[in-house]
């Protein structure tokens, strides 16, 4: 197994998969007990818990553009969660809406390829397709069993 080098990103990405996978389980457990709006409030509290451990000093010297980009990323992330709540409240079935919203990386891929002019290799494209489809199929819960 090669570790360092060109795909050092992969190991960080796996940390994300593990952390967010556990978040998925917590959401299953949490939304049975508290409303989706409360989840968003506590999500912010959880973010705030991490902040004292993060390096504030590195914020100095960032350009207004970069400060805006950083804040915008947090806003868009929360906005996406908000739209998912609204979709559920408007009668979406979790077994349909969750896999459907799992399509979001498709937009990220399109933006990366069109705006940043990224050119994934043929093998990477196969991996991208498997990952996108795999993620969507995995979130397709049977109605009798899952959903909220």
């Amino acid at each position: 197994m090669k570790t360092a080098g060109t795909n050092s990103w992969f190991w960080y990405a796996l940390v994300t998969v593990v952390a967010w996978g556990a978040v998925g389980l917590l959401q299953k457990l949490g939304t049975n007990r508290i409303s989706s709006r409360s989840v968003l409030v506590w999500l912010f509290v959880g973010f705030a818990v991490l902040v004292p451990f993060l390096p504030f000093a590195q914020l100095w010297g960032l350009s207004p553009y970069l400060l805006f980009i950083g804040v915008l990323s947090g806003f868009l992330n929360a906005l996406g969660s908000w739209f998912l709540f609204l979709s559920m409240e408007s009668g979406a079935k979790a077994s349909v809406a969750v896999p459907l919203t799992g399509l979001f990386p498709l937009i990220t891929v399109l933006l990366g390829v069109s705006i940043l002019r990224e050119r994934p290799t043929a093998l990477e494209w196969i991996g991208v397709c498997c990952a996108l489809l795999g993620g969507i199929l995995l979130s397709r819960e049977s109605e009798a069993v899952g959903g909220s």
Binding site: W9, Y12, T16, V17, V18, A19, W20, G21, V23, G24, K28, R33, I34, S38, L40, V41, W42, L43, F44, G46, L50, L54, Q58, L59, L62, G70, V71, L72, S73, G74, F75, L76, N77, A78, G80, F83, L84, S87, S90, G91, L103, F104, P105, I107, T108, L110, L116, P120, E124, I126, G127, V128, C130, G134, G135, L137, S139, R140, S142, G146
Partner: protein, 138 residues
């Protein structure tokens, strides 16, 4: 006329999250993960405030629910820090699709802790995810 309301919201969710994945790449290319997460936390505040106001500033007092909610935030934040680190080292088109594999772990954890069974569609999803992981771990 037009799309069902739930579908409109679901599509807006896809656009917001899809754009987030890209904007986070723009940030992570120039900002270290730590400070970027501080800024992202600030960006989350307005919607958390709106949610809090809509709840008439009353949060449920369910201890377990609160614990899950806060843990949810801490783990989401840790996942984001790793996402920034990953995306600053690779192509967002590739990294973004790999991190979208997180339901794999949810399904596995739900199988272990909640004894939820996998349906056939999810089994195919597991197989495709493992192929993707095999390709990118080379």
């Amino acid at each position: 006329m037009g799309l069902a309301r739930w579908l409109t919201y679901a599509l807006l969710c896809i656009i917001a999250w899809g754009t987030w994945g890209f904007v986070a790449k723009l940030g992570a290319d120039k900002i270290a993960p730590g400070p970027l997460q501080i800024l992202a936390t600030a960006g989350t505040l307005p919607l958390a405030l709106v949610a809090f106001l809509q709840l008439r500033m009353r949060l449920e007092k369910d201890g377990r629910g609160i614990t899950y909610g806060i843990l949810n935030g801490v783990l989401s934040g840790i996942g984001l820090l790793a996402y920034y680190a990953a995306v600053s080292r690779g192509k967002v088109s590739v990294v973004g699709s790999v991190t979208s594999l997180f339901p794999l772990l949810t399904v596995v954890l739900a199988f272990i802790f909640l004894r939820e069974r996998l349906n056939r569609v999810q089994v195919v999803g597991v197989a495709l995810s493992l192929v993707a992981i095999a390709i990118f771990s080379q």
